[in-house]
Structure formats: C-alpha cells, structure tokens
Symmetry: C2
C-alpha cells in the first residue's frame, strides 16, 4: 500500500510546486509594481496579475487535486511520515475553501477589488467619502456572499473571513482579549500623559538619506537577514514578499525621520527572517508556508519593538548610528534615543502609531467591520461611527475622513477580518519574546553586544521551521507553554514605558 | 458573413493577448535575473521560466487556434481590414512552426539549452573547449532535428533555423552580400592601417561612474526614449526587453570606458525606441511585434553608429559631455572625440569590435555554423578552424579559446542562424539612414543641434508602426526604395573612416 499511496502524494507535491511557481511569479510582478515599474506600465501589469491569478486558481481547484487528496486520506497511515500528513491536511483545507467559491464570484471579486481600490485612492485624495461609498457597499455585498460560501452554519460571516487570515481566529475569542486589553491600554495612555516629558527631537533631525540607508542596512545584516537570498529596496509603503527562494524587503527614507526608516526596516526584516526561515525543500507545500498573518506579524513586531525599541539594543546600536549618521548624533546618547524611540502620543493614523496606542486603532476597525458585515452599521454612518470610536479609545477626533475612515486600503481590496491579526501579532510577539528570554537566559546582554543569532535561531527552530504544521493557537502553546494571553504584552509595555516616562 | 468571421478573429486576438501576457511575464523574470535577483534565487528562477515557457507553448499550439485560423482563412475577404489579414498571416506562420515541433523536442531543447549554457560558462572560464564539446555536439544534433521538423524539402537546415530569426533570410542571399562585403571590409581595414595615427586616449580616461550615468541618461532622454514607459538599469551584458507596455534597457559602466557606456546606452536605446514605437493597441498580435532580429538590430546600430559616431552629433554632445564629465574633458574637443569614437583596430572579441571590423567577426561565425549543421566541420575541429578564419579575415590569431571560439553564448543556447542578423542590422541601418537623410533634407544639421525628433518620428512612421505587416525584405524596399544592398553601409564607412584616418 505504501508505494500506491506515495504516488498521489508525490503528484500533489509536484502540482502545488507549480502553483507556487505561479504564485511566486505573481509576487515578482507585484514587487516590481511597487518598486521599479514605470508609471505607464500599470494597466498591462494588472492584466498580467489577473491572468496569473486565474491560472493559479484553476490549478488549485482542479478536480484531480480532490482525487489525489481522497486517495491520500483513504489510507492516511500509508503516508510516509508526519510531514506528509501535515501537508495533506493543509492542502485539504485550502482545496475545500477554494472550491467552495464559484469561478464567477472569484472573477467578480478580482474586478471589484481593482476598481474599488482605485475609487478609494481617489476618494482619499479628495477627502470625499461619498465617492467610495457605493464601492464599499458593493464590496461588502460580495464579502457577504464569499462568507456565505465559506462558513459553517453556526459560524458568523466575519468569523468565516477572519479564519482565512488567521486559522482558528473568531470574534468571541478576540473580544475576550480585546476587552481587558483596551481598558489597560486606555489606562496606560492616560497614566503616561501624566509622566515626565520625553524629548523625541532626534526622530526629526535632518540626516541625508544615503547615510540612513547604510545605517539601516548594517542593522539588517546584524539581524542575520541573508543577502544571498534577499534584498532591500525602497517603496512608498514598506512591505516584504518572497519571490521563489529570495525574500524582498522594502523600506522608506525621509530626511527627517531616521527612526521611521529604522523601524520600517527592522519590521520588514522580521517578516523576512520568517520567510527565510521556512524550509525551502517544502516549497509549494503547507510545511513551507507561513502559518498565519498574526504569527507573521509577530515576527515583524518582535524585531521592530522588542529588539529595536529595547534599551539594551541601543547600547549596541548607538555607536553604529554615530558611525553612519555622523554629526546628527551630537548631543544625544543611547538612553536618550531609547526614550525617543518609545514616545507615546495618541494620533490619527494607524501606520504612524506608537507601540502603546497602535492596538486601539485596530480595535476601532474590528468593531466597525463586524457591524458592516452583519448589517447593523449602515455604510453611510461609517464616518461618524469611526470618529466616535476614535474619541472614545484614543481621545482624538479626525478633522476629516482622509485622516479618518479613508486612511486604510484594506476594505477597498476586500480585506475584512484582517486588522485584528495586527494586534494578535503584538500579543504573540510579547509572549514569544518572554519565552525566548526565559529559554536563552536573558536577551538583553545579547542585544547589548549586537548578538542576535541566538534569538534568530530560536525563532527559526521553534516557529519558522514548522511552517503550517500546527494551528496558530497550538503553536503558541508549544512555543511558550501557555495559551495566547494579553498579559505578556501589557507587562512589556507597562514596564518599559513606565520607566521611559518615569512612573513608579 | 462579416459577423461570423470577426468572432474567430476576436478569439485569436484575445487568445494571443494572453500568450503575450505570459511572454511579457517571462520577460520580467529574465530582466530581474540579469539586474536584481539575489544569487541564491537562480534555481527557482529557472523553474519559473521553464513553467511559463511550457504554458505559453501549450497555448500557442492549442488545436482551437488552428480552427480559428482556418475559419478566418476560409473567407479572408470577410476579415475587417488589412490589419486583420496581416495578423492572421503572422499567427498562421507562428502556429505552423510551433506545431511542427513535438512537445518532447521542445522540452529536451529547453533542458539542454540550460545545461549546455552552464557547461559553456564553465568551459569559457577555464579555457577548456573539451568541457563544452560534448554539449555542443548534442546541441547540434537537436538543432538538426529541429531544422528537420521545420524545413521545406528543398530548404537547408541552416536556412530553416535562420528563417526563425529573420523571415526570408537564407544562406545564398547572404553569401551574395557577404562575399563583396568581406573583400571591401578587409581592403578598408588594410587601407586604414596605412592612415594617420588616431588618438583614442579619451576612451580610457578615468571618470566616476555616477558622472557617466547622468551623461548617458541625458543622451537617452534627448533621443526621445520615453521614461513613462521605460527605464534604464545596469547589467553585465547590456540588453533591451519589453515587459508588457514598458521597455527596459540596461547598460554598463567602467571607470575608464566612457565611450563604451555611451555606445551601449545608445545601442540599447535604439532597440528601446523600436519597442516603444510598436502599436500598443496591437499587443499580442503580429502587428504589435518587431518584424525581425535584423531590423531590430538596424535600429540599435543606427543610433549607436550613424548618430552616436557622427561628427555632427559630437558638435551637440561635446558641451553636454563637458557639463557632466567635467575635468576629464580638458585637452579634448568635439572633433577629437569624434575621431576617438571611430578608431579601427582589429581585435579578437566581437562585442568589443569597431564599426569597420565587426562584420568580419560575424562572417567567421556564419561560415562555421553552416558547416557544423551540415556536418562538414567536425566539432573537434572548431577551435583550429575558428583561428584560421580570424587570421584570414581580421589578421589576428586568438591566443586561447576563451578569446576564440568560446567567447559567445549563442550556440550553447541553441541560437544557430542568429549571427548574420547582426550584419543585416548594419546593412539595414546604413540604408535606412541614407533614406532618412534624403527624406528629411539632411540629418547632420539636426544632430548638430540635438534635434533627434525628426529622425525618431521618421523611423516610427516608416518602420516601427508596421510591426510584422511586411516581410523584412519588402519593408526595406518600401522604406528605402531599393532592395537591401551593402553599398550604403560601405559608402558610410569608407567616407567617414577615410576622413578620420586622413585618406584621400
């Protein structure tokens, strides 16, 4: 039976390697679009991406995939090993989902995503919510249809969509974490407002972009990002993508925002280390893929915040900064930069938010998108509800929709159930960082001497190498010994920021 | 009937747009490989390219293409217009060729091309012809099989392969041009050797690469290369490729070879203007494609040599060079640079050859590849035969095979019948330049004031916009009023170089 069973498994591996070759080719098309594509090339690029997406979907839903899966499952004990069983489970999950969507719905979604995103970009540029409103309405309708294709009878639409981003995530679990988290974060924000004034002038010192670039490249190399299998370029919005075997990061530079360039680079570098840590021999198989958006975000936030905003990190990094940034560093020291990197200041824009208020931005979106999907919030009430929640959670009120409900691209391109993975990323990051600190006998001394290899290898061994072997919740228990909890994250913030702001 | 006939035509257009989307996606994969791909990404890149090639070949040879073509041809008068008829003719030619090759042969060729090229690169690096010999033998066997699939009973194998590069090209016509051309070029080379000494020291002056880059970018912009639909990067071997609607050029910089950087940029810029001049509305159809490799090369050589090596061009370009290159220009003037750019010096390496000896390199290869294909030259006799012909035609003898028969990549990747298109390009370029000069009332005064628009638009109107509407030979007659002849090229060389070398 063994020989008879490996045949369909081998067929699945070869088939999904081809699907992944198409996917990674799309990744190059998308990367190029954000980095080097001349502006006249956009229309044809959209057509190339649409064709590749169609070809990949056709292959991912081919009937013989179902037959091969059934043959593997009919005698699962005959599969070679645990790896093979994990891959078959992953393919099964993907196949059942993909085949539940009709080709017509997939095509309509692709078209409306592209058009709604253009309408959103125009609406945002002109601060004209009503220009986006009909497209948002149509997109919500399509997402409801999509959720209805996917959901189990007892599952809400939001949960069905969220499960695509984070396997096992649901609104009830999130609400359980988010309730206390919000209270503690709001309380922390109010307490810090009564602390000492923290000078973050360094964040706005003018420094030539070329100097910033050599500096952040040195930090990225120290993190252990492998330039043989990756590169760093520039784009308006930093991102990380994998093109086959090589991992491409982007960052951004502004003359007067060196800490933004560093934070963006370390954030994307964390994503990149995850991608470089996946097993290349499992290319195209679930074991060679990231387990979830939340865990992916945990890797970026861990390097950005638990490393890059740690006092010990700046002991090592400050001499490096002085070497690369020169005169701009005069009058500062490592402790001052550590404080500057940890200033808390409630703001209107999520992507510019500090570590302590970021998740309050996420919670606004989490509440709103559930109600948009279940119909209890009419689309035309979105701006006022958005502003009301910002006042409640962050104590700030957007002066216009551009800095309010039009700031994020996500809903225009059909990403519902996505935002909470940012907060899950923060929670996972803190819990993983605590576990690593425990297991490695204290990370701070390593950071202080610029030795990031132990942390990186620990993450690789405990998280990256597993790909999609475990559910995210299970992975968290295996890595940290406990279920996911907001406590490590709150401990981390309260300790670090309490010290920065001189609170008892 | 009209409505019934447009349906299969529309189907063909849509079908081949998709094929072209796949082709242009492959072009991006290949461009990235030569410019930005991290070195660890090579293996997966080869797999991506192989998959895309297979998908494109499947589509290009799909049986319904044959049915649509037959329906269009059954009542050709019912096709909408001449454009439609020209496209159907082009698709028919491509389809008949593609379907004559078996899938097995296509797959074996793809594999051996990749492996033989790697063997060639190693053999060249170690100057070890015997390492390449078995692969060349195998490649010749495959090319013979391919030619046998393609050729008409009366056609030679070489002619069948050459026709893929240059529709209508055959060895008999070439021999008719090449015989007298070789005699006149050898005579010219000998005459110039007796002329005055020409100082080309400027070609070797040390100039920072950044300064060279702003200089060549200024020249490229003046040529009219449209940056909205194109870009210029660097690679080891300069090339031009089209990625959908945008055209990507590369060039190279060496501190002490500014004229090489300029020549490479203008050469690739000429290719780029051709690609930008094709009708984007005909994307995927023969009317939107370059007519032949020879005509493509004519555009690059025209800009590189008839513009970039003209005395009038340097009247305009020298102040520009002084502005960008600074102190390096001291002690020279426009006339001196024009002479430096036109030095003739027989050499061993084709890609470094001057305008007067370049075609002698091509003729060596043309003679040898015919005899390799018809079996009259055994592979192990290639090095000695190569060296004998170099002594005869160029008066130089390669000291090793690296600078001899191992210098070019072409044969290793199956490009037989390709080399002569370089010389056709030179002949077409001279004949087109003469015709443009006549039609526009003298190009030199335009060049002297940096006004390249009239020439560019003339080329666009008479050559680029037609795509594959005409056979190359017919296009030449339409554009210049005469059949292709080596006379304009020889006139151009003898006049210009005679003046440079102070001959009567």
């Amino acid at each position: 039976m063994h020989g008879a069973m490996t045949a369909p498994y081998d067929a699945l591996r070869a088939h999904f390697r081809d699907v992944a070759l198409l996917g990674s080719t799309s990744a190059l098309l998308a990367w190029d679009q954000e980095t080097f594509l001349p502006r006249g090339g956009g229309d044809r690029r959209a057509a190339q991406l649409a064709l590749l997406a169609t070809l990949a979907h056709e292959r991912a839903t081919a009937p013989h995939v179902g037959e091969w899966l059934a043959r593997c499952e009919a005698d699962a004990t005959a599969l070679v090993d645990d790896d093979a069983r994990a891959n078959v489970r992953g393919w099964r999950r993907d196949y059942d989902r993909a085949t539940r969507l009709t080709a017509a719905l997939v095509a309509e979604l692709a078209e409306v995503e592209s058009k709604a995103q253009q309408a959103w970009a125009e609406a945002r540029a002109r601060d004209d919510f009503r220009r986006f409103q009909p497209w948002l309405l149509r997109m919500i309708g399509l997402q409801q249809q999509k959720a209805d294709c996917l959901r189990h009878p007892s599952q809400s639409r939001w949960d069905a969509l969220a499960d695509l981003c984070e396997p096992g995530m649901n609104a009830a679990d999130l609400a359980q974490w988010f309730g206390p988290l919000r209270q503690r974060l709001v309380a922390l924000r109010e307490r810090l407002a009564g602390g000492r004034a923290v000078d973050d002038g360094f964040a706005r010192v003018a420094i030539p972009e070329a100097a910033q670039e050599t500096f952040v490249r040195a930090v990225l190399a120290a993190m252990g990002f492998d330039a043989k299998f990756g590169r760093l370029d520039r784009s308006a919005h930093p991102f990380c993508t994998k093109v086959g075997d090589d991992v491409r990061l982007t960052t951004r530079f502004h003359r007067d925002r060196v800490l933004d360039a560093l934070g963006s680079t370390m954030h994307e570098g964390g994503h990149g280390l995850y991608e470089q840590g996946l097993d290349p021999a499992q290319f195209g198989s679930p074991l060679g893929e990231a387990v979830s958006l939340g865990v992916h975000e945990s890797q970026s936030r861990l390097w950005e915040n638990h490393v890059g905003r740690a006092a010990a990190f700046w002991e090592w990094c400050w001499p490096l900064a002085q070497r690369h940034l020169g005169a701009a560093c005069q009058g500062y020291d490592a402790a001052a930069i550590h404080r500057a990197a940890n200033v808390v200041r409630p703001s209107l824009i999520r992507v510019e938010a500090d570590e302590a208020t970021y998740d309050l931005h996420v919670m606004v979106r989490f509440e709103i998108e559930q109600r948009l999907l279940d119909g209890s919030l009419p689309v035309d009430a979105l701006p006022s509800e958005w502003n009301r929640l910002y006042r409640d959670y962050l104590g700030v009120v957007p002066p216009d929709n551009r800095q309010g409900c039009l700031q994020d691209v996500h809903w225009s391109c059909g990403l519902f159930g996505y935002f909470p993975t940012y907060t899950l990323g923060n929670l996972y990051a803190a819990q993983f960082a605590e576990a690593a600190d425990r297991a490695l006998g204290g990370l701070a001394p390593m950071f202080a001497r610029g030795d990031f290899a132990p942390l990186r290898e620990w993450l690789r061994r405990h998280i990256h190498r597993h790909g999609r072997r475990h559910e995210p919740a299970e992975l968290c228990r295996l890595v940290t010994g406990s279920a996911l909890s907001p406590e490590p994250f709150l401990r981390h913030l309260e300790q670090k920021l309490g010290a920065v702001y001189g609170l008892a």
